[in-house]
């Protein structure tokens, strides 16, 4: 069971929705054993959790609170933070580059994630159980997702989509004169989205595991009733796979919002040409660690957190209408 599903059941247990009660009790401690070990192990737990608690307080929650405070200050690392109220946020509101970076990242997420997941699902469905060469295909398709976030692959992308890079060399062989993909503002972001789509391997593995869980008897019964391929896909595969599609969707969206390396390397750290690959995170980095405008960077970080949180919340809400739980 995924982290996400588990988080969902934690929330639902409180809400007390009967339908999911079975799933919830399956994941947490079985009732019998709780009765047996009724005494608390507070001291032992504190010892085992000590590193995690220190980490949570000093590395996560503390800095989060601190960055919320800094977002209301003017701070350059040298002088003490100077409280300026909502100035960072009002500056942001009038900052064209901020809005542009938000647009670039949103485009990347809204175009890149569905393309990547669609391809992942299509390939996973093609990799039938017992297909000859299954392990080979799976490895080849999975490998890029391990390498995709590296600087090395970003360097490769920079060459491939350059004016006389690999892509244009291959296009020239069939007589097409391609543009300078990454030097043209209208295609630069597309090249980076393509890199994202190229890493469809890890959601594909999750889909594969999910497809294997669908009982074959459903398909057999549907086929006996004369259902064709399309109907079987729409009426059996999609509903039964929907929790996993949802899971992939939420995680890929959260991950895609944080993309940084590819745009940074391909554009040489500038977000160019003419800010067309200026990802939100890249602009945040430039403001924070390029100009040491730490207050503004913190404010941007909180805006990012709110946006990612909103997307996740919308996803969870919308899931009520299309995600189907079989249990």
């Amino acid at each position: 069971m995924s982290a996400l599903a588990e988080l969902g059941t934690l929330g639902k247990k409180k809400g007390g929705r009967g339908k999911d009660a079975g799933a919830a009790s399956g994941t947490s401690e079985p009732k019998g054993s709780r009765a047996k070990v009724s005494k608390k192990d507070n001291r032992a737990a504190f010892v085992f959790l000590a590193p995690w608690i220190v980490g949570l307080v000093c590395i996560t929650i503390g800095p989060m609170v601190m960055s919320l405070y800094l977002s209301f200050t003017d701070y350059n690392l040298i002088q003490d933070p100077n409280f300026i109220g909502f100035d960072n946020f009002t500056r942001m509101f009038g900052d064209g580059r901020f809005w542009n970076s938000l647009g670039v990242t949103l485009t990347y997420v809204i175009v890149g994630v569905p393309l990547q997941l669609g391809l992942a699902l299509a390939v996973a469905m093609a990799l039938d159980k017992g297909l000859k060469g299954l392990a080979f295909y799976r490895s080849i398709f999975y490998l890029p997702s391990l390498l995709g976030s590296s600087v090395a692959v970003a360097i490769l992308w920079k060459q491939m989509f350059g004016t006389s890079g690999l892509v244009n060399q291959l296009l020239a062989m069939v007589g097409i004169h391609g543009p300078g993909w990454i030097s043209d503002p209208s295609t630069a972001l597309g090249s980076i989205i393509l890199l994202h789509v190229w890493t469809f391997g890890s959601p594909m593995i999750i889909f594969l595991a999910g497809l294997r869980q669908i009982p074959t008897m459903y398909y057999e019964a549907a086929a006996v009733d004369g259902a064709g391929r399309v109907i079987r896909f729409l009426k059996i595969t999609l509903p039964l796979l929907s929790p996993i599609i949802f899971f992939n969707l939420v995680l890929q969206i959260i991950g895609a919002f944080q993309s940084f390396t590819q745009a940074f390397i391909v554009s040489g750290g500038t977000g160019g040409p003419s800010d067309s690959t200026m990802f939100f995170t890249l602009y945040l980095y430039q403001r924070g660690f390029g100009q040491f405008d730490m207050g503004y960077a913190s404010a941007m970080a909180w805006v990012l957190l709110v946006i990612v949180g909103a997307f996740t919340a919308i996803n969870f809400y919308a899931s009520k209408f299309w995600v189907f739980y079989d249990d």
């Binding site: 976030s149 600087v151 595991a209």
Partner: protein, 324 residues
Amino acid sequence: MTTEAAPHTAHRVTADATASAPASSESRTRRAPSRAPRRPGGGDYAATPRQRVKSVLKHTVLIATAIVMIYPLLWMIVSSFRPSDDVFRAPGLWLTQAHPENYANGWNALTSPFATYLLNSTIVVLGAVVGNLVSCSMAAYAFARLNFWGKKWMFAAMLVTIMLPIHVVIVPQYILFSQLGWVNTFAPLIVPKFLATDAFFTFLMVQFIRGIPRELDEAARIDGAGHPRIFLRVILPLMTPALATTTIFTFIWTWSDFFSQLIYLTSPDVFTVPVALRAFVDAQSSTDWGAMFAMSVVSLLPVFIAFLIGQKFLIKGIATTGIK
């Protein structure tokens, strides 16, 4: 998802994924139930001509996709043996003449030999791996086996941190670590790992420990073992698959991690491989692509080797917990 216990799911997933002959005939039946009956254990090609055509078509499409996917990587390896001019002239994979000097040039292109950066990355990766193994397994034992005050909320907090964007904490973390004098050391990249901040692995291990029968704990307890001993002698030895998955993922992610290494490592003698590669790109903006590809290949080699060795654990880890 209906299955909960990690180890069992994991085994089933791999067993399914690497299914052999009997399973294959079963899946054929699923796809075409109304067609001629399969011989028990019959091969893929005991099929009607139409099915055979479909199968050939499918493999053609899959192989074509595989080639498109893998071609850039193969081309980069081949190009790393070509003179830089040829990188822009030769889209093919055939190599008329190998130029290993790209590797020597790239190796010595920056202030320190590339070995320094490989060593620095190795230190960071080893620290991160040890840190994650120790701290995440301890936290996971508590969440999976102990009853304590506030457990539900702490567990929820742990799950939420899996999804927290690093940017919300990076600025204060940077301030904290720079006040400790840790900028341009490896401490900011290693110390947090000893504090179980990679919650994803804690979750993975919790899932795994939940699948270990409690009777084993009880037996050890009756023999007088306390929690430390149960953890070290019973649980840890049984959770080696989860530890292996953690090791490989931590290795690959830390090796490729760029953002935090870029922020904390600004002086060339502490550069790790990704930061050094970036410096290389900036320094050589238009020239030595052969050497740049050579060092890129060097930097990907450890990830590729980890993939070959640990593929089983990687796929299990993804299939059961599903991140990245």
